[in-house]
Symmetry: C2
């Protein structure tokens, strides 16, 4: 890695963990942090996560070789507009956003001559959001999706892939569109369902959630995630999320019909198919 | 506890763990196991879980002071028909079934003079089904629901409550109907949703489940549970399960509409409400 200065915009769980992983990997350059909350930036600096901080993204990216976008993806475009005039030639802009498609297209279009954008999405996280949860090992053994397009610069792509591999990630390449279809199904939809499940159980009777066993706890754990981030993700990946949710909804309607018609053998068959499919994940 | 012989019908995870917990609590009497699979019974005996075994429930309950029903609840009625003529006067019949309502009514009606039925449901389990997973500590710190009715004998009820408390359970009493409404929402419905989620994700593309992070893994873990048991539970608690699923389905439809109409502030509000409600469970 030939970076002297790395600027991380958004110092929360992901941005903070990225900074720590970078330092742990032996990076000796400067790590600048950009954020809207000064208290948070001061905390991150005092914890040794970042070396200097800026409220203004345009000031923060000066001389940076690598810029990581780590706020909710709905803010990427405005930030890119802010910083595009200040990026140094040869800089690489990348991100950790859970949505790619449209965002990658728009960011690519905003990059000035000589600056490359490479979309990235490490599949790592915890329920605890914020810099307090930052962890140098967050990305270890995690999958990281990189989404090059026909416009992506080959050497910038190589640099970004190498960086995530240094952090211990298994890197997969796919198109932004394939990424969004897959993650609508395996991540965005499950988050929506977890939120809906909590509300629908507690709408029945406010105090019954506590009767749930570990199954309900496991199933609703991701409803502890940031409501701001996840509504933003739904907005950024609206079409694919809707498609996945409608698919789920019609499968559910079919299952409700089986129960209504007391078709227990068919119901058991559906459950058995799901159990077998889920076992594949266990052995992965 | 004044029991000399305890007969457990159904030697799987729950029945086996009950036998082990009983022995660990200092019970010195005989533990008889009844099951349909001789291999399984031989294994349970060789593991020291039961002391003797029977294929025929009627033979197994002879002289027993306490009879525990631990097969899927759909089989309770037939078993009660089988054993009712052989129960000794003063015996207590109880169960670990996840459904109460109708089943409690029917079992009460089937008990001969001098024999008491007390419905029970320990909220404990693992994904691993079968006697191999049996564990003396399975019930420790678990909640156990006991569902007396106006017909329940007071001293039998006391004995059953005391037994579960000895195993380390926090015992709650409620009516069979209240139990079924609550557990349809916090347990039966989540299982159905987990099965539907696995199928609906993998129907999109067979190999995408592996891109899921720990959130999806947590959310679908209960789809590893016995498909036979859970379709049986849906059948035994059909009305309450349907009501819970329809409530969920209409909450989901509402959420899909918010996304369709791009009402992001309302969506975030729904997510935030769920997050706050889920936090209550965390601190419980």
């Amino acid at each position: 890695m030939d970076f002297n200065k790395v600027t991380i915009i958004g110092i929360g769980l992901m941005g903070g963990s990225f900074a720590l992983a970078l330092k742990e990997s032996g990076f000796k350059g400067m790590v600048a942090g950009v954020g809207r909350k000064k208290d948070n930036l001061i905390k991150a600096k005092s914890l040794g996560i970042i070396d200097e901080y800026f409220i203004d993204p345009a000031a923060g990216v000066k001389d940076a070789d690598l810029i990581l976008l780590a706020p909710p993806p709905g803010q990427f475009e405005a930030i890119a507009e802010d910083i595009k005039g200040r990026l140094k030639s040869g800089a690489i802009v990348t991100d950790v956003g859970s949505v790619k498609g449209e965002i990658v297209k728009r960011l690519e279009a905003l990059m000035p001559e000589g600056v490359s954008f490479v979309g990235g999405h490490p599949i790592a996280g915890k329920e605890s959001s914020g810099v307090d949860g930052a962890d140098a090992g967050l990305f270890r053994d995690a999958r990281c999706i990189i989404t090059p397009t026909r416009n992506t610069d080959g050497s910038a792509l190589e640099n970004v892939v190498e960086l995530w591999e240094t952090f211990g990630c298994k890197v997969s390449l796919m198109t932004p569109e394939e990424h969004d279809m897959i993650f609508a199904a395996v991540s965005h939809m499950p988050h929506v369902l977890a939120y809906v499940l909590v509300n629908s159980v507690m709408d029945i009777k406010e105090d019954i959630l506590r009767y749930g066993g570990s199954g309900l706890k496991d199933m609703t754990r991701i409803a502890l995630s940031s409501s701001e981030l996840w509504s933003d993700i739904c907005s950024c990946n609206r079409e694919a999320v809707l498609k996945a949710l409608k698919g789920f909804s019609s499968s559910l309607t079919h299952t409700i019909e089986l129960i209504e018609r007391s078709e227990w053998a068919s119901l058991e068959k559906e459950f058995k198919k799901a159990k077998k499919r889920r076992q594949l994940l266990e052995s992965d």
